[in-house]
Amino acid sequence: MSQELVLGIYVFIMAIFVGFEVISRVPSVLHTPLMSGTNAIHGIVVLGAFLVAGSADTPLLHTLGFIAVVFGAANVFGGFVVTDRMLEMFKKREIPQGEKKDA
């Protein structure tokens, strides 16, 4: 195994723990916005689409890259905007037992 692959696997495993640790404290009220917010974050894959589309040198690669960028961008922008819309509705209220509810 290459040094880089080993490093990648380390990052992979650490990120699993960070993901669980950070997210396990979310109250159920916020589960839908959380799902939507993480949905936007995995739109980061558009970054890969940028790399593919930007370095394409055949019509097929251009087409694949282009479709990937369109889909990925829709995921990122749509995801963040829709999450913001959901959370907007929570802001007016004072925070009562919100956090105490089952975390």
Partner: protein, 465 residues
């Protein structure tokens, strides 16, 4: 050592990763959730801008035009979608992310093959898995979207030997995948892509609409995983970190949801829940039990002269978009001195927290929303329970009838209240497709019709009550 550009990109990725983690953390409290989402969006902007500095990128046109079109589509739908259609929106965006991951994996494979570069074992495996998982997530999400949007039937769709066929596709995927890793071959990889597309659809079709929250959550974590795998393919740690964060959170959410339904994830996925006709339930209900109907006027009087009312919202409330109407009715009742609360079952609706989001949109105060454990002890002292379009989450069979398919699922004990009024479109079954003894209970009155219309009529009758 890294050159200047490389250093800028690398440090931007580190900043972005930290912003993602803080963003997720802030999403854990209602007061900071919105800024958490914005932190994550800032992190995304930084990561994407830094990527444009990458030397591998020589042409910007495809990126610029593609991003503009994608962003326009995404923002348009995100802005215009009804709050009630949120679950299918998340499914749709998730599917797009999955498709992106699959296409990126395929394209990178084609590029490497063309350039005559040797594809290592780690890279090859990541390419195959990224392609397959991304494609499964894509068609799976599209089917989930179709079911929630009611383009496809919500009932489980089954055909003979379904599991055998799915298992064969999975086996074929595995064999083709091994071939790609060991021998290469772009046709073989395209076949993997196509087979995974079919498998994604076949995997979600037999799952009932009521289980879609769990399915969307699984697909969400799958897309995260696919994104992380493209990170291995492209040697990009940013993709690995962000993808895995989503994969982990999606997995956790999935487990939380299945726990709330007292079922295993495997049972949700392979149980074809609600497809089997429930002989015992149907027989029990047919034995001379009658349904007692009521009118909006009688309902209004019952509510007006109650001291305490608990409203139990369900998917029917979302379908009828009745959240504002129910809130108006509750306010009228409160002005008359009635104590009104809402009982929220953890899996009511089609997404975890679905009901909370809808009621928050209608400005229902948080402190009126009670969770299952808080409210269950209060039902015996409750004068009237108003069930608005909920079914399986109030089915006493889950508590009392060991032969029921939902036996063991925690429910709201509404049958312990003094009076129960159920607003429902018809005597049709819930998404679990099973009969509900609550509707035949002697304390229960049924008010048939569209939830919003019924609530409006009750509201009007209340004014003269």
């Amino acid at each position: 050592m890294l050159d200047v550009r490389g250093s800028v990109i690398a440090s931007s990725y580190i900043v972005a990763a930290i912003l993602f983690i803080f963003g997720l953390k802030q999403l854990s409290s209602p007061s900071t959730a919105r800024s958490g989402n914005r932190l994550a969006a800032i992190g995304m902007t930084i990561a994407l801008s830094a990527t444009l500095l990458d030397r591998q990128i020589v042409s910007f046109w495809t990126i610029a035009i593609g991003t503009l079109i994608g962003a326009a589509i995404g923002v348009y739908f995100a802005r215009t979608v009804q709050m009630t259609a949120m679950p299918q929106m998340v499914a749709l965006f998730n599917g797009m992310g999955g498709a992106t991951a699959a296409l990126v994996s395929v394209a990178e494979f084609l590029r490497l093959t063309r350039a005559g570069e040797r594809i290592g074992l780690g890279e090859g495996t990541s390419i195959v898995l990224g392609t397959a998982i991304g494609a499964i997530s894509f068609t799976g999400s599209i089917v989930a979207f179709g079911k929630l949007q009611e383009i496809l039937p919500g009932k489980p769709l089954q055909f003979p030997l379904q599991r055998v066929v799915n298992a064969l596709i999975l086996l074929a995927l595995f064999i083709l995948g091994v071939m790609v890793v060991t021998q290469g071959g772009s046709t073989t990889l395209w076949t993997v892509f196509a087979a995974a597309l079919v498998l994604g659809a076949m995997f979600v079709l037999p799952i009932g609409g009521g289980d879609m929250p769990v399915v969307i959550s699984i697909l969400n974590s799958l897309t995260g995983l696919a994104a992380a795998l493209t990170g291995f393919v492209l040697h990009n740690q940013m993709l690995v970190v962000a993808g895995v964060l989503v994969g982990a959170s999606g997995t956790l959410l999935t487990l939380l949801m299945s726990t709330a339904m007292n079922r295993s994830v495997a049972n949700v996925l392979f149980g074809a829940f609600g497809a089997t006709s429930n002989e015992t339930g149907a027989a029990a209900s047919a034995v001379g039990h009658t349904v007692r109907q009521t009118t909006p006027e009688d309902t209004a009087i019952a509510l007006a002269y109650a001291r305490s009312v608990v409203i139990v919202p369900g998917y029917g409330l979302a379908v009828a978009e009745a959240q504002h109407t129910v809130r108006e009715l509750a306010t009228d009742l409160e002005n008359r001195g009635v104590n009104v609360k809402y009982a929220i079952h953890p899996v009511a609706g089609r997404m975890p927290g679905h009901m909370n989001v809808l009621l928050a949109e209608a400005n229902v105060p948080y402190d009126q929303l009670l969770e299952m454990d808080q409210v269950n002890g209060q039902f015996p002292q409750t004068d009237v329970v108003l069930v608005v379009g909920a079914n399986d989450v109030v089915n006493p069979a889950a508590r009392d009838n060991p032969s029921s398919p939902i036996y063991g699922m925690p429910i709201l004990d509404v049958d312990r209240a003094r009076n129960i009024i159920v607003l429902k479109r018809s005597m049709g079954h819930g998404f679990a497709g099973i009969d509900n003894a609550l509707f035949y209970h002697e304390k229960t009155r049924m008010l048939f019709g569209d939830a919003r219309q019924s609530l409006t009529q009750i509201g009007q009758a209340l004014k003269s009550a």
